[in-house]
């Protein structure tokens, strides 16, 4: 149990531990593959279906790395880039991992181009997020990557575990582990004094 380890070791584990990434037999794989194939054949309207299924996952990947305002703008960029390159995608069923990878690369590019000082302040977005939202987001961003992305998909984007598995290509088991461990780390981040969480009222 990570939570039972001494504090210093927990940090080391957070940095070193990479949750298992296992490809899953995706239930929606066929649907997604069919949409991808349709787009590759030139049916642009089918791309709207891909967008509606994946925009939150893409946003979560971006939000895990860049400012909230930038993440909103970059979602459209990522999908535009995907539309441009989708003809090159050999395996339509690989679309989930492909577009999320594209989102990660786009975030890295964005951070590389952005001035270092711009990361310090989160600019205003409309509507302005609540203070606790930004505080929680900071804590989420401090988590290891896999936990971070999975938890943002769950807590920010409102996706369920099975949905996350479908949209990321991870197995449901991996997603469950990521959610469980990530939530433990997040609780520790938000309340280091470790309030007793399970003392229920009589």
């Amino acid at each position: 149990m990570i939570a039972a380890l001494p504090e210093g070791l927990v940090i080391a584990v957070q940095v070193a531990h990479r949750p298992p990434v296992v490809r899953a037999p995706d239930r929606s794989k066929d649907d997604v593959a069919a949409l991808v194939t349709s787009v590759q054949r030139g049916e642009r309207a089918a791309f709207g279906g891909l967008y509606s299924r994946f925009h939150r996952a893409v946003h979560a990947v971006l939000l895990a790395r860049v400012r909230a305002e930038d993440a909103r703008d970059l979602v459209q960029d990522v999908f535009a880039q995907a539309l441009e390159k989708i003809a090159d995608l050999q395996d339509p069923a690989a679309f989930p991992g492909w577009i999320l990878s594209m989102a990660r690369n786009r975030a890295v590019d964005h951070l590389r181009r952005a001035r270092p000082s711009s990361e310090a302040a989160e600019p205003a977005i409309d509507p302005p997020p609540r203070v606790e939202a930004m505080e929680a987001l900071r804590a989420l961003r401090a988590l290891p990557e896999a936990y971070r992305e999975t938890l943002i998909m769950r807590l920010v984007e409102g996706m369920t575990g099975p949905e996350i598995a479908e949209r990321t290509g991870l197995t449901p088991e991996s997603v469950r582990v990521n959610l469980h461990r990530g939530m433990k780390l997040l609780r520790a981040q938000l309340d280091p004094e470790g309030a007793p969480a399970d003392e229920e009222a009589p």
Binding site: F47, G48, A87, D191
Partner: protein, 463 residues
């Protein structure tokens, strides 16, 4: 803790996760795919967008502009203009008027008895249906940049009579003047009606969406009902939002609001937030500056985890006195004593405020304590959210009293801005002195009248 809720949102919601979800939902991504090709051809009529999608070779796909949403916004504006034109063209002959009370309302369940309005309210007389929202109707004037639905018919401006629904589409905001006491900005996707209006009360009901209210009126003259609670204005500016689970989220910007429902009430002064649950009524009032640890402990406590009280009290600081004050008269004796211990630990209670009377829930003593806290903290509270790892800056917000305001408010009463350290000596407070209505009178009145003066209503209950 069961992981079911974390996994697929089934089972008993974990309060901490639910609290995180609620807070973080404001960052959730919403949007639709804006095809760059469609955006560049936005000049075509919107009807074309309903035609079957054309097959365009992907090789022809162009890289969109850096900010294609701007183009889309332009397209939407054009579409809205055309929709407005079509609506106006289609209104001759006019559509059958909608009923004054919309029977298809998504709507409102009967209000709790505790929300019943005084019988002294004077409802306006009914207007002919076809004139329901015309400028000649009796009601509150409203206007919007694009058509909104008033009594089920599109309108950009007019008057909203009582018992008639005003609905904003997803892209439009409407402004509503509330008698001569203030204004409401009804945000997109909202639904509002006037329940009754009269000299003693202006009561409205929000069943969906959100609004911003700015009211300058005597306390309790303006009320907004929701399914979960009634927001009773005490002279202030606030945001009110109904979330997708029917909870009412109140954020007070200036002044104060009393959120009342399900037999509970919460006093929310400026720069605080309180959420009312449809089943439980108002929860704990939390300052904007409240730490996440406090918020999460408060959520656990509200859901019945008494063990979270210790964490809540541990996380509460002097700037969270509003939370402690609201918590004080609730719960068992043991809970109240714990809260009182924390209040004393933070040196928030003057020696002249009797501990035993506070513990007994004596209304006058609680009121005196609230006023004392207000004096103690209103000018000492951090002006901007305190974020982890940073010192709270001491910049002044537009809503804060200026030195001129302070001088004006203090002039007739000899009240001085309070800026006391926790260990400062405290002003003597008579235990039973209802200081809400009686200002200190140690300055001799110059006009021969007793110096019975309330503070200006819009600042009456500031904290």
């Amino acid at each position: 803790m069961s992981d079911d809720y974390l996994w697929d949102k089934t089972g008993e919601p974990d309060p901490e996760i639910a609290s995180l979800e609620q807070a973080l939902s404001s960052l959730r991504h919403e949007g639709e795919w804006q095809d760059p090709a469609a955006a560049t051809s936005a000049a075509s009529p919107p009807a074309s967008s309903r035609e079957p999608a054309k097959v365009v070779p992907i090789a022809a796909a162009r890289r969109p502009a850096r900010r294609p949403l701007w183009l889309a916004a332009g397209g939407l504006a054009l579409a809205a203009s055309i929709a407005l034109w079509l609506a106006l063209a289609g209104s001759t002959p006019p559509d059958p008027p909608a009923a004054r009370t919309d029977p298809t309302a998504s709507s409102p369940e009967p209000l709790p008895a505790s929300n019943a309005a005084p019988s002294t309210a004077v409802p306006s007389p009914p207007a002919p249906a076809q004139l329901a929202c015309s400028a000649d109707a009796d009601g509150f004037p409203f206007e919007a940049a694009a058509p909104v639905q008033c009594a089920g018919s599109p309108a950009r401006a007019g008057k909203l009579p009582p018992d008639t629904w005003l609905e904003t589409p997803e892209s439009t905001t409407a402004t509503l003047r509330v008698a001569d006491i203030g204004a409401i900005t009804l945000h997109p996707g909202s639904r509002l009606r006037i329940v009754r209006t009269g000299p003693t009360e202006h009561r409205m009901e929000l069943v969906r969406g959100s609004l911003h209210a700015k009211v300058k009126a005597p306390p309790r003259l303006f009320v907004i009902d929701t399914r979960a609670a009634a927001a009773v204005d005490l002279g202030c500016e606030y945001d009110l939002r109904i979330d997708d689970q029917g909870r009412t989220d109140l954020h007070v910007l200036t002044g104060a609001v009393s959120l009342e429902g399900k037999g509970r009430s919460a006093f929310a002064p400026q720069r605080t937030r309180v959420v009312a649950d449809p089943e439980r009524g108002p929860g704990l009032v939390l300052a904007d500056t409240a730490s996440f640890a406090l918020q999460s402990a408060a959520a656990r406590f509200e859901s019945g985890a008494l063990g979270a009280l210790d964490a809540l009290l541990r996380a509460a600081t002097r700037t969270d006195s509003v939370t402690l004050w609201n918590l004080l008269p609730t719960g068992s004796k043991g809970v109240r004593e714990k809260v009182m211990a924390r209040i004393d630990q933070l040196a928030l209670r003057a020696r002249t405020i009797p501990r035993d009377r506070l513990l007994a829930g004596d209304p006058d003593t609680l009121e005196a304590f609230r006023t004392d806290l207000e004096d103690l903290l209103v000018r000492r509270a951090p002006q901007t959210p305190h974020l982890p790892g940073r010192k709270a800056p001491r910049t002044r917000l537009p809503t804060d009293p200026t030195p001129k305001d302070r001088k004006r408010d203090a002039a007739p009463t000899d009240e001085k801005p309070t800026d006391r350290a926790p260990t400062d000596s405290r002003r003597d407070v008579a235990p039973t002195d209802s200081r809400r209505d009686v200002a200190p009178t140690d300055k001799k009145p110059t006009d021969g009248k007793p110096s019975l003066r309330r503070r200006s209503t819009d600042r009456d209950a500031t904290w």
